[in-house]
């Protein structure tokens, strides 16, 4: 692949990834405010989140100040994201594989960030000793990440195929996603083994991309890994593997959203309640013109008489 093609491919894939991810995130954000549907425990409830309590435990809660912890939800999510707490507590048999798989992803992402920093160091001619530390750490992260990720991906494919608890719910796309990500890890591991110093090789590759250097050349194992990885980056935002974005909303906007109605929300709610309803069941009495307020405040026959 010639230099310019690498640039188009890499920046194109990253650009499309960012555009689609942003579009899908905005699509979730722009969904209308929903009715409250919180679920304990809510960690931001200071002093109460520990046992699942909420501000509704206070006598005349509307007259009391709400004490919200900023740090508790972060700790909660950190345990959930990095230690897979939910799976550990509720599905222990799945934990080793899913932990290895996700940890593989996190380490590779961490390695990639270090590589970008190292590439900037190369460009800015930071002392070699500093660069070597970064490259050394990146190399270790890469090796462990590729190993854990490959193990997790292969293990999860086998578990999905063999476990009678999971098998009925498998789809082709589930297997394809695991295989695809598995290919990223395995090709990375192959490149690492083949190269004497994958971290340096990758940093120089990134440096040439950043500096728009047309003389980009890479070895076959690394180019195979980069191609598979960029294809995966192109594919990822179209799938439900972007649950790392969705999870923010399922937790913060639904489970933990216990915000009472306020003036700003009321304005939005009035707009939503003014929308026409077209449900067909007779008791709804909707005709496509009456709005939510009309149909929910219509008096029943007995009330009219009285």
């Amino acid at each position: 692949m010639s230099g310019i093609v690498w640039h188009i491919f890499a920046f194109g894939a990253i650009g499309i990834f960012l555009i689609v991810i942003t579009y899908r995130t905005l699509a979730i954000i722009r969904l209308p405010v929903h009715l409250r549907w919180e679920l304990a425990p809510i960690p931001h409830e200071k002093g109460k989140g520990r046992y699942g309590g909420s501000y509704l435990e206070e006598y005349e809660w509307w007259n009391k100040p709400q004490h919200r912890s900023r740090i508790a939800p972060i700790i909660y999510m950190a345990k959930e994201i990095f230690l897979m707490r939910g799976i550990w507590e509720h599905h222990r048999a799945l934990w080793p594989l899913t932990f290895a798989f996700h940890m593989g992803i996190y380490l590779i992402v961490g390695m990639l960030l270090l590589q970008v920093v190292s590439a900037v160091f190369i460009i800015t001619e930071v002392p070699l000793s500093v660069l070597n530390v970064f490259l050394g750490i990146a190399s270790v992260l890469a090796l462990v990440g590729y190993l854990l990720g490959s193990l997790g991906a292969i293990g999860l494919i086998l578990k999905r195929a063999l476990d009678s608890n999971l098998r009925p719910f498998n789809t082709i796309s589930k297997y394809f996603n695991l295989l695809f990500l598995g290919a990223v890890f395995i090709s990375g591991g192959y490149a690492w083994l083949h190269s004497g110093d994958l971290a340096s090789e990758m940093s120089f590759f990134i440096k040439r991309l950043i500096t728009l250097d047309a003389g980009v050349t890479v070895t076959f194992p690394l180019s195979l890994h980069v191609v598979i990885s960029l294809l995966f980056i192109l594919y990822l935002p179209w799938t439900n593997m972007i649950h790392f974005i969705a999870k923010y909303f399922t937790y913060h906007e639904i489970r933990w959203n216990d915000t009472p109605q306020d003036e700003k929300m009321e304005k939005e709610l009035r707009g939503l309640l003014a929308q026409p309803v077209s449900w067909s069941a007779t008791h709804v009495k909707a005709d496509g013109k009456k709005n939510w307020v009309d149909i929910t405040t219509e008096k029943m026959s007995d009330e009219k008489e009285s």
């Binding site: 409250r36 549907w37 304990a40 109460k48 699942g52 939910g86 799976i87 789809t171």
Partner: protein
């Protein structure tokens, strides 16, 4: 009967029953409840019922659906179902739950982590049909196929295409009432996916589009409540008459003046009981009259339709009905010019009125609403009433109503009362926000059509009964009287069915009741025991 169910089995074999409840496959109970032969048998459907009714799921009928007259009728319902799917995903018709629904539909990882959190799935001996994921995944595949662009093609490519036909929709309808909406599954989901919400949305589609809902929740539930005042059928003057009679009766029984104020404009508090308590468990509402009067509280009940019944079955199946009931309650409070509304001992009333409807009550309808738990805690520790905890010196355990505890996070106030007033209070395992549902959640406790009560008692309530027996495991015999404190009408109805069915009062000395009764029982001014052990 299929043992290991595939998702694709769901739309096949027309009228054939998909699975069956086998008593010997359910999780075992402690002695003396382990002898299946000594228990009343599971009521099986008769030939006549099988002939007339749609009963193609598990041999249980929760909500009567008559078989369609012809293929055209079947087709019409299937088309309506597709139309409902589209409305469920539209902003205009479903702004109320669009974001939670879409996120739960789109981001399930199919890890099955939620299954072992579900008391129904566990109690059933892990019957595939009762997995929280089973109905959700079928619903998800139908949404993806019929509503999303390119859905039909993707369904074909992706293996496991679900055919949409009369069998599929009728099984889905029935299966949507095999869930307590307790949300234990949602609590365990690492993604934050909520299968209980999906189930409720499914019920909503059937109700709001096809007009299908169990009669106990709809015709004899919200419709009756909005028309005459209460699903119990209690009209305003009858409710008042009942209370007057109860006031007199309990004045005589307790030796202290009991009176209940009605329609007192400008009172501080509007208390809204569940009318089911007035009818079935009157010592509950009367306890509030005793306590409020003893503490000198300015309060009132309302006799306006439906202000004397706080239940809101809409929260189980229908947003429109939910909103209608909640708005009426708020309008009544506004008219009475009260400072706040206090919930009765009713779990779903708490959830419907305090949180879910919070974003429906705009402007001056947004009147402060308080839980009965904090209200009672404040009253007990106010120092206005003298208590003698030794009067409650018997084993007491607490059932946590899911809608008050897991859904609203009101965990400790009721415990502080019990620790103070009940020397032998003990917790169930697990408890608090990790509790198991009584088995009557999601509206199931009031449903009793055909043989549904048998399913509720045998399957849905089994984990809870097991927990209760464990909590009292140190004194299992009937010689020691024990009390399950269940501060929720629907939970009490379910406990009534469970304890009667297993004969637990006779065999183990277990009765059930509310929280307010325990508080009144400990009052120094009440000379005779308020709790009647022989009646529950």
């Amino acid at each position: 009967m299929k043992k290991n169910l595939k998702l694709t089995d769901f739309s096949k074999d027309g009228d054939t029953q998909l699975t069956e409840i086998n008593i010997d496959e359910l999780i075992p109970l402690a002695p003396p409840y382990d002898k299946i032969e000594e228990l009343p048998g599971f009521k099986r459907l008769t030939e006549d019922q099988r002939e007339r009714l749609v009963c193609n799921l598990d041999g249980v009928v929760s909500s009567v659906l008559l078989k369609p007259k012809n293929k055209e009728e079947e087709k019409r319902y299937v088309e309506q179902f597709v139309s409902g799917l589209k409305k469920l995903l539209s902003r205009e018709n479903n702004w109320t739950f669009l974001q939670p629904l879409l996120l739960s539909i789109d981001y399930c990882a199919q890890c099955q982590t939620c299954c072992d959190a579900c008391p129904i799935y566990l109690a059933s001996g892990k019957n595939d049909l009762y997995r929280p994921t089973y109905r959700s995944e079928i619903f998800r595949r139908l949404i993806n196929k019929y509503v999303k662009p390119g859905g039909k093609l993707r369904a074909k490519l992706n293996r496991g295409d679900i055919e949409l036909n009369w069998t599929t929709i009728t099984r889905l309808y029935e299966l949507s009432y095999r869930c307590n909406l307790c949300r234990r599954c949602a609590q365990s989901c690492p993604m934050g996916v909520d299968n209980a919400l999906i189930t409720r949305e499914l019920r909503k589609l059937f109700s709001q589009e096809l007009g299908w809902a169990p009669k106990e929740l709809h015709e004899k539930g919200t419709v009756l409540q909005l028309e005459v005042g209460s699903p119990t059928g209690l009209k305003p003057h009858v409710a008042k008459d009942n209370f007057e009679f109860l006031d007199e009766d309990f004045t005589e029984a307790t030796g202290i003046e009991v009176s209940t104020p009605w329609d007192k404009e400008g009172a501080d508090i509007l208390l809204i009981h569940s009318a089911g308590d007035i009818v079935s468990f009157p010592e509950g509402p009367i306890s509030f009259s005793i306590l409020c009067n003893a503490a000198g509280i300015s309060w009132t009940l309302s006799s306006e339709v439906p202000g004397y019944d706080g239940v809101n079955y809409g929260v189980f199946y229908d947003d429109v009905q939910l909103a209608k009931v909640a708005i009426r309650h708020a309008q009544i409070a506004k008219k009475l010019k009260v400072k706040k509304i206090v919930m009765g001992e009713c779990g779903h009333q708490h959830k419907a009125f305090m949180t879910v409807a919070d974003r429906m009550l705009t402007g001056d309808l947004n009147i402060p609403r308080e839980s009965v738990m904090t209200f009672l805690e404040n009253l007990v520790f106010s120092g206005k009433i003298e208590f003698d905890p030794s009067k409650n010196d018997f084993p007491v355990t607490l059932h946590d109503p899911c809608n008050i505890v897991r859904n609203l996070g009101i965990v400790e106030p009721q415990r502080r009362i019990l620790r103070y007033l009940c020397p032998q209070f003990r917790e169930m395992t697990p408890h608090g926000v990790d509790n198991y549902c009584c088995g009557g959640g999601g509206g199931l406790s009031v449903m009793s059509d055909v043989n549904f009560t048998d399913w509720k008692v045998y399957v849905a309530g089994r984990m809870k009964f097991k927990q209760v027996l464990n909590a009292f495991g140190d004194q299992p015999g009937p010689e020691v009287k024990k009390y399950i404190c269940a501060p929720c009408l629907n939970c009490k109805l379910q406990f009534r069915d469970i304890l009667e069915y297993y004969g637990a009062r006779e065999k183990s000395g277990i009765i059930y009741g509310g929280l307010a009764e325990l508080i009144v029982n400990a009052m120094v001014d009440i000379k005779k025991p308020f709790i009647k052990w022989g009646e529950r």
